[in-house]
Chain length 450, copies 2
């Protein structure tokens, strides 16, 4: 999945053209989001680890070079130059879990032009998706303080890699774990599992299905109780739990996956409590997102945990971010594009964050990379000369950082509804640079980024 050909054709035709012109000076590209979706008060950076692994492993295999040669689009000399191509550049980035806003770069690649250009497609592909999911998952975390949240979304994630990376990104954002086994093996994320309706259906008797499952998974059993009649099944669970207790077997929880989750939870809670099994928890799932979780909890529903799938893994209310990876400097000269509605800030940049006396985020300044001034700089050098500058902090560290970031958000941005936007100001030095760049390239007035 990390092949060098997982890129757009134009990257390779541009590389051929650069090769023909002998152009390979140092280029800086920055990844940023142009505008936040209307339903997002902030975004959370994720995907950096996968990007760095991709950059470190970048190389063209013989089979890939053979395919490119057979396409007839490239010169033999150029293809030979690809044989030894490795990523040798520097990367500055915000640590995973960092909260950020529109126009703020979260990653900068500085490398010989051909390397920096080639990696564009996959760098965006990874950063965009993990950031999209982490940002959505963070909202779920804010909506359900103290609750167990589990990623249930492999099946309707957009193919396999999205299933794995959304398990990772949601855990980074504060989820408790995932149902996806491979994500447990690859990332060390806690893996949760219950049972499916098919298991209950395969038996002629629901109570028998429950008992076989509880005996097979003693102590960790979560029984799915909505296949036929939720409250009737809860009564079967009471009978079973009391009977199994004699054998020292405990049922951990029941899961409700359909109907009015809050109402069913209240009725089931009453049945379980009346039956003397107060220790059995209630877990809910079924097409949930952060808004439904908030609403059901506000109604006082006695639910300990939620399985959140499709709508989180696909970021269903905002399934993409308006992001870009744009050239900001080439051969020592700052650059920018001025396409209508898509103009960008030139030059290598840094984001400086200012905090209030209470420790909460107050405002950010988008400035030049080497600007001095107040505020904590958010972009750090993470790769130099193609090698990691610091050891990978790891997913747990990113998760801890993310938790701290959410705690430092201004209260209005922690709400799910659209809030007054966070203040991101542009430094005087950056505005001056933009004017200079436009003057140098004969700019048309009126195309400064909004």
């Amino acid at each position: 999945m990390t092949g060098a050909l997982l890129t757009d054709l134009y990257q390779l035709t541009m590389l051929q053209a650069y090769y023909d012109s002998g152009m390979n000076a140092s280029a800086s590209f920055e990844f940023f989001v142009r505008n936040l979706p209307a339903q997002r008060n902030f975004l959370m950076a994720a995907g950096l680890e996968e990007v760095l692994a991709y950059l470190q492993g970048l190389r063209f295999e013989e089979e890939e070079l053979g395919w490119l040669a057979a396409s007839g689009r490239f010169s033999a000399a150029f293809l030979r130059s690809l044989e030894d191509l490795r990523f040798t550049g520097d990367v500055w980035a915000m640590p995973e879990g960092t909260v950020f806003f529109a126009d703020e770069p979260i990653l900068r690649v500085t490398a010989p032009m051909r390397e920096a250009q080639l990696v564009e497609s996959r760098v965006i592909n990874l950063l965009h998706y993990e950031t999209l999911v982490a940002s959505k998952a963070a909202r779920c975390v804010l909506a359900a303080p103290g609750k167990v949240l589990v990623d249930f979304g492999l099946r309707r994630a957009h193919a396999g890699e999205a299933g794995l990376l959304s398990a990772r990104a949601s855990y980074l954002a504060g989820f408790s774990g995932t149902a996806t086994v491979q994500a447990g093996m690859e990332y060390g994320i806690p893996v949760y599992g219950t049972m499916a309706h098919s298991y209950v259906q395969a038996y002629d008797d629901e109570a028998q299905a429950f008992e076989h499952f509880a005996r097979s998974q003693p102590g960790v059993t979560t029984l799915l109780i909505d296949t036929y009649d939720t409250e009737a099944a809860a009564r079967k669970v009471v009978e079973l739990a009391n009977r199994l207790a004699a054998d020292g077997i405990r049922i951990k929880a029941v899961r409700i996956d359909s109907g009015d989750l809050g109402e069913h939870a209240r009725q089931v809670r009453a049945i379980l409590d009346a039956g003397g099994v107060e220790e059995i928890g209630i877990f809910a799932s079924g097409g949930l997102d952060e808004n439904q979780v908030r609403d059901v909890l506000r109604s006082g529903a006695p639910i300990e945990g939620f399985g959140i799938g499709t709508r989180m893994n696909t970021s269903a209310d905002a399934p993409f971010l308006d992001c870009a990876y744009k050239l900001v400097e080439y051969a020592g000269l700052p650059r920018r594009k001025r396409s209508e509605g898509k103009a960008t800030w030139p030059g290598r940049k840094q984001v400086f964050r200012h905090f209030g006396a209470d420790g909460a985020m107050a405002r950010d300044t988008l400035g030049l990379h080497d600007e001095r001034g107040a505020g904590k700089p958010l972009l750090e050098l993470v790769m130099a000369g193609g090698r990691r500058e610091i050891a990978a902090p790891g997913l747990e560290a990113g998760r801890g950082h993310g938790r701290w970031q959410l705690a430092a958000l201004p209260a209005r941005l922690r709400a799910l509804d659209a809030a007054e936007p966070y203040d991101v100001e542009v430094s005087v030095a950056l505005k001056t640079l933009a004017r200079q760049v436009d003057t140098r390239s004969g700019a048309v007035a009126g195309t400064t980024p909004a």
Copy 2:
């Protein structure tokens, strides 16, 4: 990406429980979509080839079994049983490219219970995503008859596998090709490429950027003309094209990626024609979907082709389908779940399609698998005993089938706006079976699927 652990934990805990109970009789599961999104008049089946490849390759690797053992959730005897697990079942399916509707199964797996259950997560993961994209891409094809449509969406597809599979699914639905190089290598899809804004920005002079690129890619050059001023750039293209003609070098097209595409296309067309380069085509891109393509073509814009990315690859207006893979028969007995709002039709089923005298689709009947009656049965046996029953028809065959399917759609369903739904009736025999199943399992009345 096709590891056996790319599944939900509950599949494995259910397998352990089935193992403990000695349950492994033949089970049939069907994949279907419960409801069409409001913005879809039909869906197009896709992803079958990937599902069959997954089933054929299914096995647990030693490392995976070691990880499961270390998790402490499974018995040693059960894990040993997984060592030899292979998929040995039958698969019935609609051919890729087939148009289908709510409640119609497009795939049925019949296999020993443990095999049929284990594969659920990945089967849904593949079928859901490719069907989602093919259905969206088919709408783009209907909106732009005779135009070149190219998948531009790798970067914002949800990670890498989605990038590859959306190239495949959109080509199946009638796109001309993709920008994703690896999809060209893996699936033989035609690969298209132009140039990026960064290429123009890297030069101090736009005209020089155009010339270098045109000389590097003679005959196949598409120049991106909206980095600074679209019409000014078009005039530079005229000058360049006429000059390069002396060297026998041809410019194929220009691309516009921002602003009012229709208006720019008209102005650029006039500039190119006035400059004597009528043969240079106009290609448009930039956040497009089928509605925008339809509107810009209706306005009479002189555009030969479109790059369609993010909104197609993420199916942005409907980023998931309400689909399921449900147990319909176990140990010879038809089954169904009756969860609120999610009840399903029991038993192995077949879809029979009826055509009008004009060859257009008239209505479908959802019936029992072995029912006899009028109409063309859509589900075919594609795998028997774990082996493909027929050779893979291939992507080109699926694409041809898809084209035929779109041509046979009733005219109202070819429109982009929501139309009167297609008529899918349920056979008397199936309704009777549902009642029998409910009676057998002590059903509550009133939970028949809508």
